[in-house]
């Protein structure tokens, strides 16, 4: 492999990491909030609001049903509104984040559902206010599950970021398609795939380590 090719791959790795890191950061935060709201507004939960729940439910389902490659181009006006441009690595972060929020929210909701309902009884009997139930019971108890959700979301975003090339976002996936697939360069294809595998392995290991560290169940 030529030196310019290696430079290209290094730059692409940087782009992928940039896209994945920032979209994971924002999507985890917003997805966590959305997941908590989805959970607590259910009937019999801390703040039952059936109508809000139904609406959010529909939005999340809608968000999750749009294929990423379509979402990427469909929300171009929104992307331009947020970051001022619809082309490039930074622009790609917007659709990546938008796609990951409902995904993360669902994972978080699932994690929260696993908290024994008796624990909420105990919290109520102890006289916790609704907000305290979220900060002192729900979130700490779900922490291992939330960390696991972040890990899964991040790995999914590595996958999605491969499509960012469609709007000039660059990244490893883009190199793989343009050099590996369209130019029939099997070496480049193999190297990009290898780097992606290592990247995902690394994210999974760190995630696993953190989950274990905070899991006292």
């Amino acid at each position: 492999m030529s030196e310019p090719m290696i430079k290209l791959l290094v730059a692409a790795l940087g782009e992928t990491m940039l896209m994945v890191f920032f979209s994971t950061l924002v999507a985890s935060l917003l997805g966590l909030i959305l997941g908590v709201i989805l959970h607590i507004t259910r009937p019999g939960q801390i703040l039952p609001l059936p109508r809000v729940q139904k609406t959010l439910e529909m939005l999340v389902n809608a968000g999750r049903s749009i294929p990423f490659i379509i979402l990427l181009v469909a929300i171009i006006p929104f992307t331009r509104f947020i970051v001022g441009t619809s082309i490039g690595t930074v622009a790609a972060i917007v659709p990546l984040t938008v796609a990951a929020i409902p995904f993360m929210a669902r994972l978080v909701e699932g994690t929260l559902m696993e908290i024994p309902s008796g624990l909420m009884d105990a919290a109520q009997a102890m006289g916790l206010r609704p907000f305290q139930m979220i900060t002192k019971i729900l979130l700490p108890e779900a922490l291992p599950g939330i960390l696991n959700s972040v890990t899964i979301t991040m790995i999914t975003l590595v996958n999605y970021s491969a499509m960012a090339g469609a709007i000039g976002g660059g990244g490893l996936g883009d190199i793989g398609i343009r050099y590996g697939y369209q130019r029939f360069d099997a070496t480049v294809m193999l190297v990009t795939v290898l780097i992606l595998i290592l990247l995902v392995q690394f994210i999974q290991s760190v995630g696993h380590y953190l989950v274990k560290k905070f899991d006292h169940r």
Binding site: P116, G118, L119, D121, A122, Q124, A125, M126, G127, L128, R129, Q132, K136, I137, P140, E141, L143, F214, H216, R217
Partner: protein
């Protein structure tokens, strides 16, 4: 301290509705331990959850320490709940917090300083005997230790009332007794009023001052534990009392037993002692008066609430006439007598 008046609760599922509680009125005096016993599905859990309004009655009033909880708004109710402790069958500790953190939780709600919390948690750990486990996580504790942590957590805000929802039902008999001893200790030491629900008569017998029986959503009997054991009137009450005894006829006897008397056979009888039984050494009197011998196979007699009660399995050795007379004598002295069969002697 706790007063329930005319509580009704129905559960609706679709078009049908089930009456969980009907016209429950109950008074737990300050400093007393009251136990409510009932079979599963009798409405015990629903009843105890009414006291801190984890579930709202459809009708009736709930007074704790003179305050009618039904009239409080959400914020006031939250405040009122902080003055009541509650423990559960499944402990419900936070897995993410250490023993120390779990006990500290209720104190964090009321704005205590770090120093105050540390001191108070230290006292509570000592009270429940877990000083050396402060930094352990609940998953590293045994069931009994978890319940001790739950008790310490419930006591942290110095409540006046402790509610125990089947607190010992998930524990083995030995641990159950150690937890009951602890509850009794805090009742005496802190003057805490305790309301507990259970399906085990042993729990009532061991620590309760007052008892009530709940059956199909109704309180069918209530009173002091003393009078309950001696005067239990309803069949369900008797059943609960009987369930604390474990008498079985040995297999070998069953094989040799006939339902009618014959040559060389002796009656095997079950003698039941209740609160009404005349308090005299009746077994040895019977031997003397009727010139028979009595061999006791097994016995389970206990002393609770000031009376002896329990059962004996015994063989009566004598002529048919003598044995009949002795049986009459037992019945006259208010022993419940049942002839289980006639055992042939081994030759």
């Amino acid at each position: 301290m706790i007063k329930l008046n005319g509580i009704y609760k129905k559960y609706h599922s679709g078009s049908s509705s089930v009456s969980a509680l009907q016209n429950i009125s109950l008074h737990v005096p300050a400093g007393k331990i009251m136990g409510i016993i009932g079979a599963s599905g009798a409405g015990k859990s629903t009843l105890i959850r009414m006291v801190n309004l984890l579930e709202r009655p459809d009708q009736g009033s709930v007074l704790v320490d003179g305050m009618n909880l039904m009239h409080l708004n959400r914020e006031e109710l939250t405040e009122a709940r902080r003055k009541m402790g509650m423990i559960f069958q499944q402990f419900h500790l936070l897995s993410s917090r250490t023993v120390f953190g779990n006990i500290a939780l209720p104190l964090e709600l009321t704005g205590h300083s770090k120093k105050e919390i540390k001191q108070r948690v230290g006292e509570l750990l000592q009270l429940v005997g877990l000083e050396d486990r402060a930094m352990a996580y609940p998953s590293e504790l045994s069931g009994g230790q978890k319940q001790r942590v739950a008790i310490a957590r419930a006591l942290a805000p110095s409540p006046k009332v402790l509610l125990c929802d089947e607190a010992t039902s998930a524990l083995d008999p030995k641990t159950t007794h150690s937890i009951l001893n602890l509850l009794q200790k805090i009742n005496r030491k802190l003057g805490l009023t305790i309301l507990l629900i259970t399906h085990e008569m042993d729990v009532i017998k061991t620590i309760c001052d007052e008892v009530a029986i709940l059956d199909q959503g109704k309180l069918i009997e209530r009173g002091s534990v003393t009078s309950f054991f001696s005067n239990a009137a309803t069949p369900i009450a008797r059943e609960f009392i009987n369930a604390t005894f474990h008498l079985k006829i040995p297999e070998e006897y069953v094989a040799r037993m006939k339902s009618t008397p014959c040559d060389q056979s002796y009656p095997l009888v079950k003698l039941g002692f209740t609160g009404n039984t005349v308090d005299k050494p009746l077994i040895s009197e019977a031997c003397r008066f009727f010139n028979i011998d009595i061999s006791i196979l097994s016995a389970d007699v206990e002393y609770a609430g000031g009376v002896k009660f329990g059962y004996l399995l015994a063989e009566l050795f004598g002529t048919q006439h003598q044995c009949k007379a002795a049986q009459q004598f037992f019945i006259q002295n208010n022993i419940q007598l049942e002839v289980l069969g006639y055992v042939r002697t081994n030759d």
